[in-house]
């Protein structure tokens, strides 16, 4: 063999060796990533599953089923309004036992309900920071689907929405592709530290996507429910409209209505004013308005900064309580309408 051809042989052999080893190493990396992801989800699940419970609520003719979780070690539970509706009686399943839970309060507008079981030293899930969530952030969901034992699911944040079809949420919700089966609503969405950052409140697209209420919003309502028995939503009486609603991204928001018998009337605001800040919050789009309203405290005054004729003006408005329809405490479901959509899966009894 000539020196050149020997060199080529060694070169090819060397390259072949390198690629084989690299290939194996790469395969090894792929396996490691999947294992480490499962490992993380497992860890979060193991850490928190004990604090997530099955909830059953009883309306006159119907049992409602869903999930909830402890938020302190005295048996206080957070869940979604849809899990209890207007029922007066509820039970949770804790350590294999059915335990009665008192419904402290519920709020239809935000979709939150607060329960309390007479238990001490309950495991609970600490709250994470829901303000710093980002698109594609990972979330672990934990809940009880149907009659199945508690199970985890995993997904990523796909968006932050305040608009759904033709309607608005009361505040920005987190949208994620965590699969949610019937019964898992009310369960927590957790970050990588095992802290709850949102509560599953609404599943869409056949359970393929889910909306979560950020924990900061849920806790704000829970605090009201604890203190007053009902949520007190702030209200000032200013209707706004968005410039260019059909285009994406940030739009100016203008005052277009001042409702009768509200602090908005005679406060100095005028139609056409562009709202640029409410309190400390900058207003860049309608989402910001709704969030500002959601976290406003009833009884306090809030400075509203606007631009009018290229001048910046500030008006102080007192926040009153948003009027709410008073419904009778129990709303029994009379009977199934002749052709409704049933929520139960179709049960088939196959021959033995």
């Amino acid at each position: 063999m000539t020196r050149l051809s020997r060199f080529r042989v060694i070169l090819f052999a060397g390259l072949w060796l390198v690629f084989t080893v690299a290939g194996h190493a790469a395969d090894g990396d792929k396996t490691a990533v999947m294992d480490s992801l499962s490992g993380e989800v497992q860890q979060i699940f193991n850490q928190t599953a004990a604090a997530v419970v099955k909830i059953r609520a009883f309306n006159l003719e119907q049992t409602l089923a869903g999930t909830g979780f402890f938020i302190d070690d005295h048996g206080t539970l957070l869940t979604a309004y849809d899990v209890v509706l207007e029922a007066t009686r509820a039970t949770i399943e804790y350590r294999g036992q059915q335990i009665a839970a008192r419904i402290i309060g519920r709020d239809l507008r935000s979709g939150v309900a607060l329960l309390k079981a007479d238990l001490e030293h309950t495991p609970f899930i600490p709250a994470g920071n829901s303000d710093h969530l980002k698109i594609a952030g990972g979330l672990v969901g934990v809940g009880y689907a149907y009659n199945l034992p508690v199970s985890p699911s995993f997904g990523i944040i796909t968006g932050f929405d305040v608009r759904y079809l033709n309607s608005f949420f009361a505040t920005t919700h987190v949208r994620c592709n965590v699969t949610v089966s019937p019964g898992q609503i009310g369960g927590p969405l957790l970050n990588s530290s095992g802290e709850v950052v949102a509560m599953m409140v609404f599943s869409v697209d056949g359970g393929r996507e889910c909306y979560g209420l950020p924990i900061k919003a849920a806790n704000r309502i829970a605090a009201d429910l604890r203190e007053y028995g009902a949520a007190r939503h702030g209200w000032v009486g200013v209707g706004v409209v968005e410039a260019e609603p059909d285009k994406p991204y940030a739009h100016a928001v203008y005052v277009n209505q001042l409702y009768d018998r509200t602090p908005a009337v005679d406060c100095g605001l005028a139609k056409g004013d562009q709202v640029i800040a409410i309190g400390d919050r900058k207003i860049r789009n309608p989402q910001d308005i709704l969030d500002a309203a959601f976290f406003a405290k009833v009884g306090s005054a809030v400075p509203v900064r606007v631009i009018r004729n290229e001048r910046e003006l500030t008006f102080n408005l007192k926040i009153i309580e948003r009027p709410a329809l008073k419904l009778p405490v129990t709303l029994p479901l009379p009977y199934q309408a002749p052709s409704p959509a049933a929520r139960e899966p179709v049960r088939v009894n196959l021959p033995q």
């Binding site: 419904l327 009977y335 309408a337 409704p340 959509a341 929520r343």
Partner: protein, 201 residues
């Protein structure tokens, strides 16, 4: 279709959205529709029948009927028009079947508040009738209303008492605006004559 206006203190869910929820199985959403329309439908039925017992039964039957027929509600007309039509038709059918009770409610037994007192006082001054006779005047009006045909009475109830426009009434009663106007015209003429002759007795 006119924009639905919501009363203060009411959750701003349009009727059609509530109907959708009921049809998807959320039956309790229907309760919100009952609460929203109970006073208005009561008024229509009561002024057609002038009888509280019958009105109570007919109102429940109306809501029940509407509930059963919810899946046939087409959104080309407003829910408001649709349910008013059910209420009116159901009431008229009842009246035609002649199942009236003997018991008639006179004004004394209804809640008369300060506003009523003031309006009555003005009216007494205007017609020159004595204070004691004002209740009788109202009773005479109720009687005369009963002498109208069902469609004339319905037109008066919807226009003069409930304050609806000719177009809305035409949709509810499934007729032309011209028909509504002529029914009102004849009804007013009859009522004026009946009350005038009674007053001049």
């Amino acid at each position: 279709m006119a924009e639905q206006t919501f009363r203060p203190g009411e959750p701003q869910i349009p009727d059609e959205a509530l109907v959708d929820q009921v049809l998807q199985g959320e039956v309790s959403a229907y309760d919100w529709l009952v609460l929203r329309y109970q006073e208005r439908l009561y008024a229509v039925i009561y002024h057609m029948t002038a009888n509280h017992e019958d009105t109570n039964d007919l109102l429940m039957e109306t809501f029940d009927k509407a509930f059963r027929r919810l899946s046939s509600y087409k959104k080309n007309s407003s829910f408001y028009t649709w349910i008013y039509r059910i209420a009116l038709n159901h009431t008229v059918n009842h009246l035609n079947r002649g199942r009236k009770r003997r018991y008639d409610l006179s004004l004394n037994e209804l809640s008369v508040d300060e506003a009523t007192e003031q309006e009555f006082a003005d009216l007494s001054a205007v017609t020159g009738a004595q204070a004691a006779a004002r209740v009788e005047l109202q009773n005479k009006l109720n009687e005369s209303l009963k002498n109208l045909s069902e469609s004339q009475r319905a037109a008066v109830v919807l226009f003069d008492i409930e304050g609806m426009g000719h177009a809305e009434i035409a949709k509810i009663m499934h007729c032309s605006e011209g028909t509504v106007r002529s029914r009102l015209h004849y009804a007013h003429r009859y009522l004026q004559k009946a009350l005038a002759s009674w007053l001049n007795k």
